[in-house]
């Protein structure tokens, strides 16, 4: 048997995959073979390490060396230096942006120091396509103990005490959901996993499915046992091909060794899982719409009650849980509710995975204990704002959430605090914005998204959001009035109160929270016709400073609409009525004579 001295882990998440991690892996395998080292080094393709900013990541163990931005042609050097001679390849180590120090291993990187990985425990550690590695990491141990104990009520009670709440956004207690579904008798019940992750910029669920698909299968089987469902369904969007592939592999492996199917582990419990593909509609993350879509109907929500626990998929009692929620369950059972409930804040227990994106140094996937502050997330884990610019706001909760400003930087993050601050936890997208972001445009971006994604069933959402979006458009064009601002507020309140489902009810949040926190910026657009961040094109004005202009004609020659006039060696002038604000003149001017006002 091969006696490995090194394990080399190569990130195979979607991000690193896109930057040739598959080729890197192949090169490792091939070069190790050429050098007769294939029995000394094990090559493992893993799920996401989270540090997507610096991908592709290659980690060498046992010395925990963390190589970043590795290219396929670097592989030979890593093998020659690190594996053969035992010298780390300095130039591929992570460099701390503050101290310029090369960090040898991940534990000394600010990005990992404050993290706590529960849902992501196996991501970036095991090969997701190998059930043996999952089993070695206590995989299916929780399922076995639940089946052996044979007391579903006790398992639900344990989850209840742990304080686990739904990670899909609203934070409904998972155990309560299960106990509502359990008593409803039917010939067939369903345990459903909601993997329809739709927030722009969010990729937590995808990474879990790609990095640790067995944890979801195990948790679904546990859930199925507790609610007496023998069928599991995973609703996943077809635009996640890698996650789908890994799930398919995992399901077939679990079936093969009898961890899915009839009479699991001799307990008499039957459970099997099928995949259902969604077409990527945002509204299908809402559970009733999701169920309709699975049934082959239009993905439209319906009024609750009846709740899915009573009449869900095919009108049978069903229970829908989010991917990240499920990923927590096996660990809670293995390590006990006391352990889990010791992490987090009073009402929000455990950890939360966030997809950190936007104007921040360390873009990536992070898992932090509830109760951590935004400041720690942004400045310590995220490494601060890109280019040393000033922090302006962070958007959480996606199109249903809101913006948090500087004054909330030290608020502990949990479900209640985020809602009190005018945003929400959401599924975990966290988009950081710096001083160059225009908040009116940000609100408009999210409204554009909801207008696109509205299913059109109820008029507040279908028509109301469209109007909101139009008003925002008017403001960014410099044509807004103070009355428009009043109208925005009124309309937003009405939509919130009257829309049918969660999508519509929360869609005005980005508008309301930016109005609350950045009222001055709205007023500047409307009254002064200025965009303080300089983002709104229509409100920009390019002006030539006659003192600095040498009359070189570069701007006039490059202007696509001939809006610049003047004669050689004399100052030029821009005709504002003809200018389309493309910025070409600004880029072409060699004398800094053109400025934006």
């Amino acid at each position: 048997m091969a006696n490995y001295k090194y394990h080399i882990l190569i990130c195979g998440g979607t991000g690193c995959h896109a930057s040739q991690s598959a080729q890197i892996k192949e090169n490792f395998v091939q070069i190790l073979k050429e050098k007769n080292l294939e029995n000394d080094v094990q090559i493992v393709g893993t799920g996401c390490f989270g540090f997507c900013e610096k991908g592709p990541i290659v980690k060498v163990l046992p010395d925990n060396t963390f190589y970043v931005q590795v290219k396929p042609e670097d592989v030979e050097e890593i093998i020659n230096e690190h594996i053969v001679k035992g010298r780390k390849v300095e130039r591929l180590l992570y460099v701390d942006p503050k101290t310029q120090e090369h960090k040898e291993d991940s534990k000394h990187m600010g990005f990992y120091k404050k993290q706590m990985r529960i849902a992501l425990r196996n991501c970036g550690f095991i090969n997701p396509e190998n059930i043996e590695e999952y089993i070695a990491r206590d995989g299916y141990k929780a399922l076995a103990s639940v089946l052996e104990q044979n007391d579903p009520e006790a398992t639900i009670e344990l989850l209840k005490k742990s304080g686990l709440r739904g990670r899909g956004g609203a934070g409904f207690p998972t155990a309560v959901k299960w106990s509502l579904c359990r008593p409803n008798k039917a010939d067939q019940k369903y345990m459903i996993c909601n993997a329809d992750e739709g927030d722009p910029g969010a990729f937590m669920d995808r990474s879990i499915l790609e990095g640790d698909p067995h944890s979801i299968i195990e948790a679904m089987a546990i859930g199925g046992f507790c609610i007496e469902a023998t069928k599991g369904l995973i609703y996943i969007r077809a635009e996640y091909p890698l996650a789908i592939h890994r799930l398919q592999v995992a399901i077939s492996q679990a079936r093969e060794i009898g961890l899915l199917g009839k009479n699991i582990l001799g307990s008499g419990f039957d459970f099997d899982i099928e995949l259902r593909y969604g077409a990527g509609a945002f509204v299908c993350g809402e559970e009733t719409a999701l169920i309709h879509s699975m049934e082959g109907k239009r993905g439209e929500p319906t009024f609750k009650p009846p709740f899915p626990a009573v009449a869900g998929y095919m009108n049978k009692p069903s229970n829908v849980n989010n991917v990240e929620t499920l990923a927590n369950i096996p660990v809670i059972i293995n390590r006990g509710w006391e352990w889990f409930s010791s992490i987090g804040t009073e009402k929000s227990k455990g950890t939360k995975v966030f997809a950190l994106a936007g104007q921040i140094n360390n873009v990536g996937l992070i898992e932090v204990p509830m109760g951590i502050t935004l400041r720690e997330v942004i400045y310590e884990i995220g490494g601060g704002i890109k280019g040393g610019k000033k922090f302006k706001a962070v958007q959480t909760g996606g199109p249903s959430g809101g913006c948090l400003t500087e004054k909330f930087l030290d608020t502990p993050i949990d479900y209640e605090n985020l809602v009190a601050a005018g945003s929400m936890m959401g599924s975990g997208g966290m988009i950081v914005m710096d001083e160059t972001s225009c908040m009116v445009s940000v609100a408009k971006f999210y409204l554009d998204f909801t207008v696109e994604e509205s299913c059109g069933k109820c008029s507040p959402c279908r028509i109301g959001n469209k109007r909101l979006c139009e008003i925002l458009g008017k403001i960014t064009q410099g044509k807004g009035t103070m009355q428009d601002l009043e109208e925005l507020k009124n309309l937003a309140a009405v939509i919130k109160d009257t829309a049918l489902c969660g999508l519509g009810q929360t869609s005005p949040n980005p508008v309301l929270s930016t109005i609350d926190n950045f009222w001055d910026e709205y007023v500047a657009h409307v009254v002064d016709k200025k965009c303080p961040a300089g983002q709104c094109k229509a409100l920009k004005q390019y002006v030539i400073d006659p003192e600095k202009c040498k009359g070189c004609t570069a701007c006039a020659r490059n202007c696509p609409v001939n809006a610049i006039h003047g004669t050689v060696k004399n100052p030029h002038e821009i005709d504002q009525s003809a200018c389309i604000k493309c910025g070409t003149c600004y880029e072409k001017c060699k004398f800094n004579a053109i400025s934006i006002k």
């Binding site: 090194y6 046992p62 010395d63 043996e132 052996e148 093969e256 582990l265």
Partner: protein, 113 residues
């Protein structure tokens, strides 16, 4: 892989498979483990460091010791190769000279237990 039919089967399987990941898991806990670094410069390799490293790993495995064995570059005293550095948690490291493969069993028994 064979079917897993009972709770006992799963447990047995898990115990069998766990050793495969031991090396990887030790990466999370390196500071609290005994670390052995074998000097693997050209001089070390010529003097038989590869065989030494192999022997240390095998011996530790045989005795079920939680030791992290890695390699490092030339330690500078090439005439004394193969050289091996032992770092125990909270202690200064100790360097051993002329540690040929045939002395490894004795070395492990005296220093790594």
């Amino acid at each position: 892989m064979d079917k897993i039919k009972s709770f006992a089967d799963l447990k047995k399987k898990r115990e069998e498979l766990q050793s495969n990941l031991k090396l990887r898991e030790s990466g999370d806990n390196v500071e609290n483990m005994i670390q052995v670094k074998v000097a693997m410069g050209t001089c070390g390799i010529a003097a038989g460091a590869k065989a030494t490293m192999e022997a240390i790993i095998n011996e530790c495995q045989k005795q079920n010791l939680d030791v992290v064995v890695t390699q490092t570059g030339c330690m500078g005293k090439c005439n004394a190769e193969p050289m091996v550095e032992v770092k125990k948690p909270g202690q200064d490291s100790v360097v051993f000279e002329n540690l040929k493969a045939d002395k490894v069993a004795d070395f492990v028994a005296k220093n790594l237990k």
